[in-house]
Subunit: 290 residues, 2 copies
């Protein structure tokens, strides 16, 4: 059975593990902070690859940033990581094939093969974390677009430049549906600039009505975004993953979405491919598991 060395390269952490064709992780998962300097990132990756490449058939990289349609390198912006990172020549890291895919696309693929959207040809995955990532499966394939950059969930929830987004624009879905979005919604609604998303989650658990109102607004914004995506894609399901997904009432959101869409009914479900779905998905893609 084939095995891949999977590496997840994010703005905060670089993780790695070994993944089998079944999607099973068969090693420890190692994690380090992402170095600040590009040269250090390159050295760390080289070190990880050297340590494991002889044990595996292929190197699979799930990375921040848009990845080209050849799965060899990065196109476009990458967010919070050394600015030279997009110039990295991934194929020089190993004598074995180095396969690269965007982290959210990889996670969507893991859900598609072994997770919550398994068996469905059409799905939309949203990772609700500090920000919002996205991966879209159309007809059992990842939606990549002309240069591989598709699936960015930066569509606007309002058009009056209310909240600035990490992408440089305003009022993208991310600025409302993310953990940071929940924090900002709390601060706006309750007029208290010290509040965090944890305060809201805590408050909801304690039954505090003010926080329940904030939470419902946040969930409603997520629902409104999903309505648009459902009308655009007519998906079998919408998968919510990431650290904030656990708080969403997926049954309620499914009901609200289906009462408002013009396409055919869909369902909103929580992801089930786990915290390492990015690495698992990249490994499955690299090994050609469809």
């Amino acid at each position: 059975m084939k095995k891949a060395l999977a590496i997840d390269i994010g703005g905060t952490k670089i993780s790695n593990c070994i993944v089998k064709e079944t999607g099973e992780i068969v090693s420890e998962v190692e994690k380090r902070s992402t170095p600040k300097l590009f040269s250090e990132i390159k050295n760390l990756l080289t070190e990880i690859v050297k340590k494991y490449e002889n044990d595996v058939d292929i190197i699979a990289i799930a990375t921040c940033g848009a990845v080209n349609n050849e799965n060899t390198g990065i196109v476009g912006s990458t967010g919070n990581i050394a600015k030279e990172y997009p110039t990295l020549k991934f194929n020089e890291l190993s004598k074995k094939t180095v396969f690269v895919e965007n982290d959210a696309n990889s996670a969507a693929w893991a859900e598609h093969i072994i997770g919550a959207s398994r068996g469905y040809a059409h799905s939309v995955m949203l990772t609700l974390g500090t920000g919002v990532g996205g991966g879209i499966i159309v007809d059992n394939k990842i939606l990549k677009g002309k240069n591989g950059a598709a699936g960015e969930m930066h569509f606007k929830m309002r058009t009056d430049r209310h909240r600035s987004c990490t992408c440089g624009s305003f009022d993208c879905f991310e600025t409302y549906a993310s953990g940071n979005g929940l924090k900002d919604t709390a601060r706006e609604m309750l007029k208290d600039d010290t509040l965090s998303s944890y305060d809201v989650i805590d408050g909801v658990k304690k039954g505090d009505e003010r926080f329940i109102r904030v939470f419902n607004q946040w969930q409603n914004d997520i629902k409104d975004g999903i309505i648009g995506l459902s009308n655009i894609f007519d998906p079998d399901c919408v998968v919510l993953s990431g650290s904030m997904a656990q708080f969403v009432d997926t049954d309620l959101v499914t009901k609200l979405v289906n009462s408002d869409i013009v396409t055919t009914p869909t369902k909103v479900v929580r992801g089930s491919a786990g915290n390492y779905s990015g690495m698992i998905g990249a490994a499955l893609l690299a090994m050609g598991v469809k």
Copy 2:
């Protein structure tokens, strides 16, 4: 060379003509008002088919409403047409094959084969008319979704239930980017409930600053919708067709979109497949022209 009898079935008009494999219309285009009663619609279609079916190889229907993935019938809502219309058994209209596709998807296909998005694998088409229709080409195929209903441009431009949409929901792209949207924007901004979209277009031509402000707001809303679609699809181009498209400054919108997206640069262009692109596209699809 193959020929198709093409019929466009809309809420207002039913049109028909004969289309060659090249996309050329080789007959007069006949137009009638869409009858109110379902039985009358059926009779009219039967009459058109009887008159022409012996002259053609296949019947191609571009229709309002979402069409199933088998291209045989309608799923989901159809807007302003007899409510039993979705139950129509299209295959009973002729002994020849009756191929059915959504009108906006058909128009997008015409643009893809003989029009403004020719030669591009990835494009988004928006028809800006009284409402807004949409057709999306992903990897040289029409995006259909699980039941064929994909490509509905009903994503929200705001989330505070400001304008009601024909789809039953609120604040969809259509309620801002359509001709009706332009009218509503004028009435809101200038506080005059008698204004029409024609007043705005006239006013802009005359250099009236108030109407120029309204028009710019309308065009800006279109631009904001296109930003979201570009980030989701990373398309080669976005094609604007329909009666309102002629007024959009596509060069300016291209520039504004590209300065705001996180994906790779795209271009916004006007459709060039003409007013009968729905019939042409359905005919090309029916005859298997890719």
